[in-house]
Amino acid sequence: MKSLEELKRIKEQTLKAMDLRQAKDRGKVVVAMGTCGIAAGAKDTLMAVIEELEKANIHDVQVVQSGCMGLCDREPTIEVSMKDQPSVIYGDVDDANARRIVHEHIQGGQVVAELVIRRGNI
């Protein structure tokens, strides 16, 4: 270690690894992980959301899990709530749809209409 630049580089790198522990206040993605959700592939959905956010370098959106949302025939379901906007629940969110929601809704600000089950809080 010979310079402050080097120190800053380590800081930036490590912050990425510590990212899960930082406060994230721009939004939240809830992946329903009930038995039905898991059976329908919710785990792949969860990992796809996390991976896609990372790829897009988005670090202010939290990804958490919840139990069953009660919409078993549309699993996997996810709820996207961005700050100051009504939350949106999506159904049939497989790996590809999850990535699409990250790009269009979280990154682009456009709700993916054809996957929406409901807008606003349940």
Partner: protein
């Protein structure tokens, strides 16, 4: 790809309550569910809420699970991590709140705190220098090397930081005096010989964030012109020593210690010195003698360590918590530091909150916080609905703060006005069941054991005071004993050489000041109002309540209880040794303790 991080508190208290086996159970359960590559487990330093341990926090949600054990640890994996359901039985439920807390931000114990010294404790992995750097670690050093010694010292002086070891001496003045002193080489020393009963602030910093102390010592070395530092840690802190030693190795590897630090041309290195368990070695001159390999005995000041310390050379000596404040001051400036606390005691103070409060543990609050906030808001009030009686501060060198002063802002100066000291931050909460004479006797006994013996008033005087205290508690107190204690105490205060001796009578004098009636009750009425002093108690059986179950008679170790089955029992006072076994065993509240 990591989707969740589990932070497990690996502070001393949580380790004692089974942190390692909880961690093993979690690792096993993760593997069983096949998600070991998606979830990362990180062991941190002390999270503070020691009586809630072992603690596991699940990120990104920040869900706070407490009192986790081997049996229920698996639920965190199978429920929370696999199915996305929180585990309600492991959430904290406060005595006054209606619903359970999901995160630490919903627990009053945490919300009232301002974490500066403990900024990284419980947040980072203490073994990871990278995580320390990610939280702005070693940026203070980087800035200091650019500022130069004079500006560093001016910033520390302007911040108004006072020594957190107990006396509250202005840190900046110490730094300047050491820099200005003639003599070479100079040394930088860290006092980690935390010896007050019930205090564990410094241990937690060394265990949870060792780099914060290392970084500050390098800054101090650069500011005063020293090339060598020593951290003096007591041998009773093996985990602190282990983590500090590892941190020193990492700091060397990264070039924060050694030659030409951050290309500045400045050389500095740190060694650990382990204390052998003498309380007096927390006194700075005795500590320095001990580092030199001599017996730890205090010496007369002046000369102060800043002029003639280690091996007669100028030496800067500060406490662990004082050092932990330094790097943020340099990064954020003196005004930032002054933004909390009182004008004469800026910044925060870490307290080890112990005794009869609901939530014991490590808390950091702004200076000037009242005892009421500490005990009732953060501490959750007194256990079992009992009444608050007082708080012992400053360990064996301090005294009590009574209920009358619950609303007094606590800082270095206000506590001094009522006859106690801030001390290093041990805060022992006492309730109506504590006998103040007995509490004072406990601390005095500690001093009698720990007096180094150099000065007669301390060596012999405290022993004589202890004898008087002993006879008061034994029911053999005489008229005039209180006055004798006062005059002996005064002499010891005035004629002892070091801080230990000068403050040794404080617990006795302070309890006499506020609870003289309790002393009088012991001496004149031969009664202990709190029912603590064994020799002043009588146990008897209430004939109206006794059903003759014989439980007490069978429990009594000296066969002092007689009576037939289903008949009222009687205690023979001449045989009774007042052990209290009958009181504990009786299911009918028939044993009277007076």
């Amino acid at each position: 790809m990591i989707r969740n991080q589990l932070l497990i508190c690996a502070g001393g208290a949580c380790i004692t309550s089974g942190e390692k086996s909880v961690k093993d159970a979690l690792v096993e359960e993760l593997a069983r569910n096949g998600i070991q590559d998606e979830v990362q487990i990180i062991e941190t330093g002390c999270m503070g809420a020691c009586d809630l341990g072992p603690i596991v926090v699940v990120y990104p949600e920040g869900t706070f699970y407490q009192k986790v054990n081997v049996q229920n640890a698996g639920l965190i994996v199978s429920e929370h991590l696999v199915k996305g359901r929180t585990v309600p039985e492991l959430l904290y439920h406060g005595p006054t709140s209606e619903k359970k807390a999901q995160t630490s931000e919903e627990i009053p114990f945490y919300t009232r705190q301002v974490k500066r010294v403990l900024r990284n404790c419980g947040v980072i992995d203490p073994l990871s220098i990278e995580e320390y750097i990610a939280r702005d670690g070693y940026f203070g050093l980087g800035k200091a090397l650019e500022m130069g010694p004079d500006e560093i010292i001016k910033t520390v002086q302007d911040s108004g930081l006072r020594g957190r070891g107990g006396a509250g001496f202005p840190t900046g003045i110490k730094w300047k005096a050491t820099k200005d002193a003639t003599g070479s080489p100079k040394y930088v020393v860290c006092n980690g010989d935390e010896g007050d009963p019930g205090a564990f602030m410094d241990r937690s910093v060394l265990e949870g964030d060792p780099h914060s102390v290392i970084e500050a010592m390098v800054i101090a070395g650069f500011a005063v012109g020293a090339a060598t530092g020593y951290v003096y840690v007591r041998a009773e802190y093996p985990l602190a020593i282990e983590r500090l030693d590892y941190a020193l190795k990492k700091a060397r590897e990264y070039g924060f210690l050694g030659k030409n630090i951050l290309n500045s041309g400045f050389d500095f290195d740190i060694e650990i010195r382990i204390g052998a368990g003498a309380f007096v070695c927390g006194e700075e001159t005795a500590l320095l003698r001990s580092i030199e390999g001599k017996r730890g005995i205090p010496s007369l000041k002046p000369p102060f360590p800043a002029q003639a310390g280690l091996w007669g050379k100028p030496t800067l000596i500060n406490n662990v918590e004082t050092y932990a404040n330094i790097a943020p001051i340099l990064i954020n400036g003196a005004d930032w530091f002054r933004s909390v606390g009182t004008s004469k005691s800026p910044g925060t103070k870490v307290f080890a909150l112990v005794g009869k409060v609901q939530n014991t543990g490590l808390v950091e609050v702004p200076m000037g916080t009242t005892l009421r906030e500490l005990v009732f808001d953060i501490g959750g009030g007194i256990r079992d609905g009992k009444k608050f009686k007082g708080a012992q501060t400053g360990g064996p060198s301090g005294g009590v703060i009574t209920a009358d002063y619950l609303d007094m802002p606590i800082d270095f100066d206000t506590v001094k006005e009522i006859g106690t000291i801030m001390g290093s931050g041990g805060l022992v909460i006492l309730d109506e069941d504590n006998c103040m004479v007995d509490v004072a006797k406990f601390y005095l006994e500690f001093i009698v054991d720990e007096s180094c013996g150099k000065c007669t008033p301390c060596r012999e005087g405290t022993r004589q005071m202890y004898r008087i205290m002993e006879r008061i508690c034994d029911g053999k107190g005489r008229g005039g004993d209180v006055e004798k204690l006062k005059s002996l105490g005064k002499v010891i205060q005035l004629t002892s050489l070091c801080g230990l001796g000068q403050t040794a009578p404080n617990p006795v004098l302070s309890t006499i000041r506020f609870f003289e009636d309790e002393y009088r009750a012991h001496i004149e009425d031969k009664k202990c109002p709190a029912h603590v002093c064994k020799h002043l108690l009588t146990y008897s059986i209430n004939p109206d309540k006794c059903v003759g179950c014989t439980a007490c008679a069978r429990q009594c170790p000296v066969q002092a209880i007689g009576g037939q089955v289903k008949k009222v029992h009687v205690i023979d006072q001449a045989t009774c040794i007042k052990c209290g076994a009958c009181y504990e065993v009786c299911r009918f509240d028939a044993i009277l303790k007076e």
